[in-house]
């Protein structure tokens, strides 16, 4: 699994960082998503998919 984050769309709601803090963080300045790892390990895939669905702005994509 590979994660893509569109930082032009992100509104910094933090749902991804709340759901999988091992994979997603937020920039301290503007709250925008920071990918800590773009290819999360298999055991995190389910949580990452949940985070993608929870994202309110549609900024995340799992490919």
């Amino acid at each position: 699994m590979k994660i893509e984050a569109d930082t032009t769309v992100c509104i910094g709601a933090g749902m991804c960082a709340l759901t999988v803090p091992e994979v997603f963080d937020q920039n301290e300045e503007d709250g925008i998503v920071v990918l800590l790892q773009s290819e999360p390990p298999a055991e995190m895939e389910e949580a990452v998919r949940r985070a993608v669905k929870l994202c309110p702005s549609g900024a995340l994509k799992a490919v």
Binding site: I11, G12, A13, G14, M15, A17, L18, T19, P21, D25, Q26, N27, E28, E29, D30, G31, I32, R50, K53, L54, P56, S57, G58
Partner: protein, 399 residues
């Protein structure tokens, strides 16, 4: 055209009015006549609600809106006729790209990490309130002693609003969300709080401190009017939301001994309990409201340009196709994905703060007061059916 009149009166304190739950069974999207005669729509289905909130063809600009409540008709009319302008920094009622600029300036202040760091301070504030409540003795009004002061102290500290000046805005905030007041009274209350905040921002310009408003002032990106609007939005949103979740949430737990016992037995359920209480109680009676900027089809219904769409969040968050058994409170269910904070670009800016306040608030309350119970019969708790945000006016408790 359904002459469905929106009501906030409920048959049971924790369930949305039966009319809308029955309506949801008939489909996700319904025609509805608004308080000003406008023929628009009401959404009761989860998937349809997410679609509307995701779609930039639905606007949140106040001058395009129609009032779903009779109580808000006059106020909406004032806005439409441009006799009253929503302050420029009140960015909740703007669309992208204007909205994006404000959101980017503020989102860094409300990140998950920052809010988790704030939890130690929230805990101190919470413990102080519980000390004061215990010292004053039984019974106590949990709203007055706990549910309102905690979020109020936290948001005041965060923004840099002196808590001892709260008399200048707490009563007016109540008037603003009251459904029973005349438009003139609500507008006067808004005016008084804006004037207070203008003065406060002036003082901060002279003497900046280590707080959010001072940071925005010295950042220099916002005009004075924008600063006032932003401060107004954050102050009100920080008061009338978490306070009601703490009050109504405690009432819901005390009224459901099995759920209360489950949370007491396993405090690690707190994160999920918070999500489930948010979902199950959905304290915004009705809304948000959006307006179509062009023709849009939603689940087979053609929403015409200019038509208003109202989302009924309490009913939407119990859509049984999304939350099986959703009419029951169950603090162990997967509750995330609820729309209590909204969805789309306007999803609540302060949601991570609200989560931290509730996590700490509920957990401390149950830990400190193992014998906590209602001090009046459950059906005598006064309910906020007369306010735009649901909750309890008072919650008499003993322990």
């Amino acid at each position: 055209m359904s002459d469905l009149t929106l009501t906030t009166e409920r048959e049971r304190p924790f369930d949305p009015p039966d009319t809308y739950a029955e309506l949801r069974e008939r489909g996700p999207v319904h025609r509805m006549r608004y308080a000003d005669g406008h023929e628009g729509w009401l959404v009761t289905g989860y998937a349809a609600a997410r679609t509307v909130l995701d779609d930039p063809r639905f606007s949140n600009r106040p001058e395009l809106s129609h009032p779903p409540f009779a109580a808000r008709a006059r106020l909406a009319e004032e806005v439409r006729r441009e006799r009253f302008a929503v302050p420029p920094g009140f960015f909740l009622r703007t669309d992208p790209p204007e909205h994006t600029r404000y959101r980017r300036l503020l989102a860094g202040q409300f990140t998950v990490r920052r809010m988790k760091q704030l939890e130690a301070r929230i805990l101190e504030i919470t413990e102080e309130r519980l000390d004061l409540m215990e010292a004053a003795g039984r019974p106590a009004d949990l709203v007055d002693a706990f549910a309102l002061p905690i979020p109020s102290l936290v948001i005041c500290e965060l923004l840099g609003v002196p808590y001892e000046e709260r008399a200048a805005f707490q009563e007016d905030t109540k008037i603003m969300v009251s459904l029973g007041v005349e438009a003139e009274e609500a507008l006067a209350a808004i005016g008084r709080v804006l004037t207070y905040l203008q003065g406060l921002i002036g003082r901060k310009r002279e003497h900046p401190a280590d707080d959010l408003l001072s940071g925005l002032i010295t950042g220099g990106e916002l005009t004075g009017d924008e600063l006032t609007g932003v401060a107004f939005l954050l102050l009100i949103a920080g008061h009338e939301t978490t306070a009601n979740m703490l009050g109504l949430g405690t009432y819901a737990l005390l009224a459901d001994p099995a759920q209360l016992a489950a949370l007491r037995e396993d405090p690690s359920l707190i994160d999920n309990a918070v999500e489930e209480l948010l979902r199950h109680l959905s304290i915004v009676h009705v809304g948000p409201v959006r307006s179509a900027l062009e023709d849009v089809e939603i689940e087979g219904h053609l929403i015409r340009k200019g038509e208003a769409v109202t989302l009924h969040l309490p009913v939407i968050n119990r859509d049984l196709s999304r939350f099986p058994g959703g009419d029951r409170l169950d603090i162990t269910r997967p509750a995330s994905g609820h729309l209590a904070f909204g969805h789309g670009v306007h999803q609540c800016l302060g949601q991570q703060l609200a989560r931290s306040e509730m996590r700490v608030g509920f957990a401390s309350l149950l830990r400190r007061l193992p014998g906590l119970r209602l001090a009046v019969p459950a059906d005598e708790v006064p309910l906020r059916t007369d306010m735009a945000i649901y909750g309890v006016h008072r919650l008499p408790v003993t322990w």
